[in-house]
Amino acid sequence: MASVVLSEAEKVYVVHGIQEDLRVDGRGCEDYRCIEVETDVVSNTSGSARVKLGHTDILVGVKAEMGTPKLENPNEGYLEFFVDCSANATPEFEGRGGEELATEIVNTLYRIFSSESTIDVKSLCINPREHCWVLYVDVLLLECGGNLFDAISIAVKAALFNTRIPKVRVLEDEEGSKEIELSDDPYDCIRLNVDNVPCIITLSKIGCRHVVDATLQEEACSLASLLLSVTSRGTFTCMKKLGNGSLDPESIFEMMETGKRVGKTLHASLQKILDKEESLGTTRQKVGFLG
């Protein structure tokens, strides 16, 4: 992963500051940096979102394509994730350099979405055993400024909220062969319910306290972090420990409590922004990268 090299003095400075609940940029331990979310940035997709969290920049595009359902779930559609660590973020990601990080992120995303309650995949089915919608969620990592997983999960949730899947009708012939007809109206589409889609909260243990939304410098000082996937109601769908250091069980329970609190606030703010964008509809000024 992209990382900075810190001297011992800088590390001591960061750790001591955090013990006093004061981080390098003035935030408290449970404060996020300013998050900018914008949906519908790329027009070739069924849904897209761009999230800018400090120096971390993520672009997610969702494309809905027709495919055959998987054998073990014939009445459901499914989601496929793909992560591209672009060389824009750091020259180390050139060629195949970013594949390790990309695989880690993809596996985490699959684990989070493996729970049945996150997305209603039954609504993605068109013809049981024959046709279903496959949602290809493609994540593009443009800049790495720390706290990748949080930003990616926010972007994925926003992109899924923005996804518009065209409505299709299945017509049956006299011979029994089925034809799929796409609705003529381009605005006639089904939307996904993202109320149960979780967001990832990464808590990094620095010294004896833990912080939310670590920057690259803070990540270099932390020995271990806990990755929690929290839904808007405060339930966890996935938990994972990252890093070389070890955590004791008490810290883990404390981090889980913090994660729940922070997660609920994050979901509430995100939903507010998404609803506001939705209410503006076509009158919304699209800024994208030009702002």
Binding site: F82, D84, S86, A87
Partner: protein, 245 residues
Amino acid sequence: MAGLELLSDEGYRVDGRRAGELRKVRARMGVFAQADGSAYLEQGNTKALAVVYGPHEMRGSRSKALHDRALVNCQYSMATFSTGERKRRPHGDRKSSEMTLHLKQTFEAAILTQLYPRSQIDIYVQILQADGGNYCACVNAATLATIDAGIPMRDYVCACSAGFIEDTPLADLNYVEEAAGGPQVALALLPKSDQIALLEMNSRLHEDHLEQVMEAASKACKDMYAVLDQVVRDHVHEVTTLLGE
């Protein structure tokens, strides 16, 4: 739509432009703070993002270092959701490798590499949305990014594509016009000295028409130069105002 007319009788193209008209260009420099230079460019519906790192010490094999000039290392990559049909691999396929080599060739002609011997300049371009003229948008975005990084160049590198339909040369082709299969010329030009950095032609074109098409592409590149120059001046003005007197 039966018989899609690329050029109507009144002289209008599919998107309502005239034959020699460029698409709307919007650009912004300094998009990313962590990179040495970055730029975002929209040419119609084609969106390209370019990032420059360097000049810095050679990464990887020191043996590839050139003793008298800098090595220009490029990568062209397309987002999987950029095209109408989802693309499986963002980079590494033949088309992307070819584009990478073209970018390298173009920028080696423009950057003053003799000033940085034994070092490396990385230019990474990402296409976010592809609607024709991918290579040209990349070159234009990379020019802005290189200027943003403060790397000295001989001149701007402006690129534009041109085609030939019904005895009329068209400038700046979009995806529909490119997919129609007619002749296409991609031209990368150093506008002040009229030097050509890269010239590529596809399909069949009678040599009598070549001059017309090259003229149209040249003119389009010069129009692009005017736009890019204005973007750079506005950016410098903005930055110096923010820095104070």
